[in-house]
């Protein structure tokens, strides 16, 4: 039978289309995260020494070079995971997969940042690394009474957030746990006093995230807790195995939210129901900022197994969930991180929410929610520009932070990832895929889940350092600049650890070491910092905003009471300025709403500013 010319044309077209697919795929899938079959779990320092970064390529091309220095800095912390009820043994690596957290805080007010690190094995010790100012740290957690906080029967640590809740000028610590959370009052930097009982906090709650913010602008920081596992669940003594999420993307059987209003005098009141923050999603990250321009901080919550929630603050009187109205609460994913960053230098925050992307199985993609031009208040609308800006694919993503790593005047983005790194030649993804799509009665019962048997689940993933080119595009340079480890990353902190005018990087890894990447930023680029001190009791100035005006740009940053997964960055705000900058002014809006302007602040130093 003769073949018509039309048929031949169709065949040629068909072959051409099929051949184009892998080419297009290669161009699109820049988010490749697999360490590859030949990749090895190498010490970060070893990875960096063989990378282009060691040859100086990273710095000359990208304006920064990262060198992992935890060993020389005296940091030898390795996170341990909890061992939960034996009924979960077959899937233990994935249920006991969180708890590596880190916060950067100057707890003793000596002007140098210290690090608090959470551990999660039963009986394991948390660490408080005091900055010795000579490039090294020393662990003072035990001496100051904040080490032994994972005792059996009390649950295990998930992270900490710091703020001066009692107005004495020192940063106090709230430790959130799967179990009994703890509040510690900072005794003038000389020790910590347990203040949990008199504060009126819950005796048991499986908290996935927490954040300090002054929701009613009464001058005292309030405390938000986001539940992960159901509140009354004792993960070490399960009475039922029906404790897993009822759905992979629509679960509402997690822990409850809690908002504790700070009454002063060390007491807190549960106002959750009164302010309308009730929700039982599986919360993994929450952060607050004045996203609508009302002067009151709104609350953005990233939920695992479901949509993100945007709680609009109605003048400190209550909250309304407007996720769908703003566009961020429609497509459910596996939210694990919330970070705010002014990516366009236009004085507005975009919101970065991390999710899961696994080649060939699940491509959720991370979200970069950018506010639409001309929208604010109740009309605020977001659009997801993660794909357009090149920050969408990051593997099984966890913590991410914005910060100007090369001081070029734009906010870059660091992402850590990787869920369970175990056997290199066996993946649990197939097993995960069959159970995840099943009916809720099957998926919600742990005993139905296939055993992991040493398989990895999105393990050994390459991390991301996305440099903002200032023109609407991010370039991924992690391997070139030296972020080369393949651990299961959880928390990211960007902080100037040694007061050098460069943002260093601290990474907390699940079942892995705490890594400190020292940043050699391009000295040709200038910088400026602001260390804000608010009026008591919120001396931490949580919620204060700084808008820096220079060279026709305006960059917004704020003092956060907890941002990104299991992390809190420093209170001092760091701005890169690029070359030969002339800074016009810094406009500070304090949490009270009062504005303060600093005209022509001098670059190259941190300006200590007290609320006037």
């Amino acid at each position: 039978m003769p073949v018509s010319r039309g048929r031949i044309a169709a065949i040629i077209l068909f072959i051409g289309l099929v051949a184009a697919v892998p080419i297009l795929n290669k161009r699109t899938a820049t988010g490749g995260t697999s360490g590859g079959p030949r990749a090895r779990a190498r010490p970060a320092s070893a990875g960096a020494s063989t990378s282009a970064a060691a040859k100086g390529e990273g710095r000359s091309r990208h304006g920064l070079k990262l060198e992992e220095v935890s060993k020389s800095a005296g940091i030898d912390f390795v996170h341990t995971a909890p061992k939960l009820d034996p009924k979960l043994d077959h899937i233990m690596p994935q249920v006991a997969s969180m708890g590596a957290g880190v916060s950067a805080v100057d707890f003793d007010r000596d002007g140098w940042l210290d690090l608090y690190v959470t551990n999660s094995g039963e009986g394991s010790l948390n660490r408080l690394y005091r900055n010795k100012k000579d490039g090294a740290f020393e662990d003072v957690a035990a001496a100051l009474g904040v080490a032994d906080l994972n005792r059996e029967g009390t649950g295990v640590s998930m992270g900490t957030i710091w703020a001066d809740y009692d107005g004495d000028g020192y940063e106090d610590m709230f430790l959130y746990k799967w179990g009994r959370c703890e509040l510690f009052r900072n005794d003038a930097g000389k020790g910590f006093v347990r203040a949990t009982d008199e504060a009126g906090l819950p005796a048991w709650m499986n908290v996935g995230c927490a954040s300090w913010f002054d929701y009613d602008r009464d001058g005292r920081v309030d405390l938000f807790l986001g539940g992960y596992w159901p509140d009354d669940l004792d993960l070490w003594h399960l009475t039922t195995t029906k404790m897993m999420p009822e759905s992979f993307e629509y679960a509402k059987n997690g822990g409850g939210n809690k908002l504790f209003r700070n009454l002063g005098g060390g007491k807190f009141q549960d106002v959750t129901a009164a302010v309308g923050l009730d929700s039982r999603r599986w919360s993994l990250c929450a952060s607050a900022a004045d996203l609508r321009g009302t002067g009151y901080p709104d609350l953005f919550v990233a939920n695992d197994y479901g949509v993100s929630e945007f709680f609009a603050n109605d003048g400190g009187q209550g909250f309304r969930e407007i996720g769908k109205a703003t566009g961020v609460g429609y497509a459910p994913k596996s939210g694990m991180n919330v970070s705010f960053g002014d990516v366009f230098n236009d004085g507005r925050f975009s919101v970065y929410v991390t999710n899961i992307s696994e080649e060939g199985v699940l491509i959720q993609g991370n979200n970069l929610w950018v506010p639409k031009e001309g929208t604010s208040g109740d009309g605020l609308k977001y659009e997801n520009l993660a794909d357009a800006l090149g920050v969408e694919l990051g593997g099984w993503s966890f913590g991410a932070q914005f910060g100007d790593l090369n001081n070029d005047g734009t906010q870059d983005l660091v992402l850590t990832n990787g869920y369970v790194s175990d056997a290199r030649d066996a993946s649990y993804w197939y097993d995960y895929s069959i159970i995840a799509g099943g009916h809720s009665s099957i998926i919600s019962d742990a005993k139905n889940w296939p055993a992991m048997k040493g398989k990895s689940l999105s393990g050994y993933q390459q991390k991301k350092v996305w440099l903002n080119d200032g023109a609407g595009r991010f370039a991924e340079v992690s391997q070139a600049v030296g972020y080369t480890d393949l651990h299961d990353g959880r928390a990211v902190v960007l902080a100037d650890l040694w007061n050098r005018g460069a943002l260093d990087m601290v990474i907390a890894n699940q079942r892995g070491p705490l890594l400190v990447y020292k940043n050699e930023a391009d000295p040709a680029n200038a910088w400026i910092g602001f260390d804000l001190k608010g009026k008591a009791p919120n001396t931490s100035a949580i919620g204060a905003e700084v808008r820096l005006h220079w060279g026709g740009k305006v960059q917004l940053q704020q003092v956060s009471g907890g941002m990104s997964y299991s992390a809190q960055g420093p209170r001092a705000l760091h701005f890169g300025l690029g070359k030969a900058p002339k800074v016009e002014k810094a406009v500070i809006r304090w949490p009270s709403g009062h504005e303060q302007v600093i005209e022509a602040p001098e670059p190259g130093r941190v300006h200590a500013v007290e609320e006037s």
Binding site: P22, A29, W429, N448, P450
Partner: protein, 297 residues
């Protein structure tokens, strides 16, 4: 999904239709060609309004527009007449539902590959691959870094399944193909016992996929596609079982997209055998009586 339920020759009617139906009856009679597009649109809207299960409206519209445009182009240039766009509309909407990708191009490419396959891969006047199954399988295999498929985005509860069952039953009832769905479902459940025994994993884990809404789309709308299934009822039952069997083998080899690949492998093989079997004794080049027109599906 089925891309040709509307063009399959109607089964013989026990009573011949009236020669000239009344005007009222004409208004009240739903044209078969529009039934499947209408119902699949209902499924899309129910899924999107209830769960927001689409990657985005834009991407789905892109797939639909891409499919219809290429169908019109190829139909006009190769067959010489404008094809009815309903079939391409279903292909586009199927791609828009089943494909998951943060990028835009996979939706267009998948729609184009699906449509183009109907004109490029033919034997004795029939195309042998379910177009959207071929398109989706190609994308999953060749673009794993960019593309996944609908899995958990329609929740884990009962009501989406009821929606698919209701709408699916309407179509399957008209096409008299429920035996295909029943055979596949029964085979899947039975073979999940086998997988459970072989792997040592809980049976409920092995049977879990078929308890989710996504699988109902596969059962009702993809394996029943008339132009790309064999003609005899016994053959259809056998093929449905074989799809489940091959799927089991793929699943034992931990292939995530096993159902798509199983249909991709079994469907055309069965069609080739069916066409050959039916074509025995016919003169070379003779056109099988039941073959749909080019571009119809």
């Amino acid at each position: 999904m089925s891309t040709a339920v509307l063009t399959e020759p109607a089964p013989p009617s026990p009573t011949p239709p009236p020669a000239s139906p009344s005007r009222l009856r004409r208004y009240l009679t739903f044209d078969n060609r529009y039934l499947a597009p209408f119902l699949i649109t209902c499924i899309l809207l129910a899924g999107q309004i209830g769960y927001g299960f689409l990657e985005s409206y834009t991407r789905t519209l892109l797939a639909i527009a891409g499919a219809v445009a290429l169908e019109l182009l190829l139909g006009r240039t190769i067959v010489g007449k404008w094809p009815h766009p309903a079939s391409a509309y279903i292909t586009g909407i199927s791609v828009g539902i089943l494909l998951r990708s943060p990028a835009f191009w996979p939706y267009v490419m998948c729609a184009w590959i699906s449509i183009c396959s109907k004109y490029a891969i033919r034997w004795r006047g029939r195309h042998i691959w379910n177009p959207s199954n071929l398109g989706v399988s190609t994308m999953l295999f060749l673009a794993p870094g960019t593309v996944a498929t609908l899995s958990v985005q329609w929740g884990n509860t009962l009501w989406p399944m009821l929606v698919v069952w209701t709408i699916g039953s309407l179509i399957i009832w008209r096409l008299r193909r429920f035996h295909i769905c029943a055979t596949y479902a029964a085979s899947f459940v039975a073979l999940s016992f086998v997988r459970s025994v072989v792997t040592g994993e809980p049976w409920l884990a092995q049977v879990a996929p078929i308890t989710g809404p996504m699988y109902q789309l596969f059962i009702f709308f993809m394996i029943t596609d008339p132009p790309t299934t064999v003609r005899s009822k016994k053959g259809q039952i056998l093929v449905a079982f074989l799809i489940a069997l091959v799927e089991m083998i793929l699943r034992l080899n931990r292939v995530v997209h096993a159902p798509y690949y199983a249909l991709f492998l079994v469907g055309p093989a069965a069609n080739i055998v069916d066409i050959w079997w039916r074509g025995r004794g016919e003169p070379a080049g003779a056109k099988p009586a039941a073959a749909p027109a080019v571009g119809a599906a």
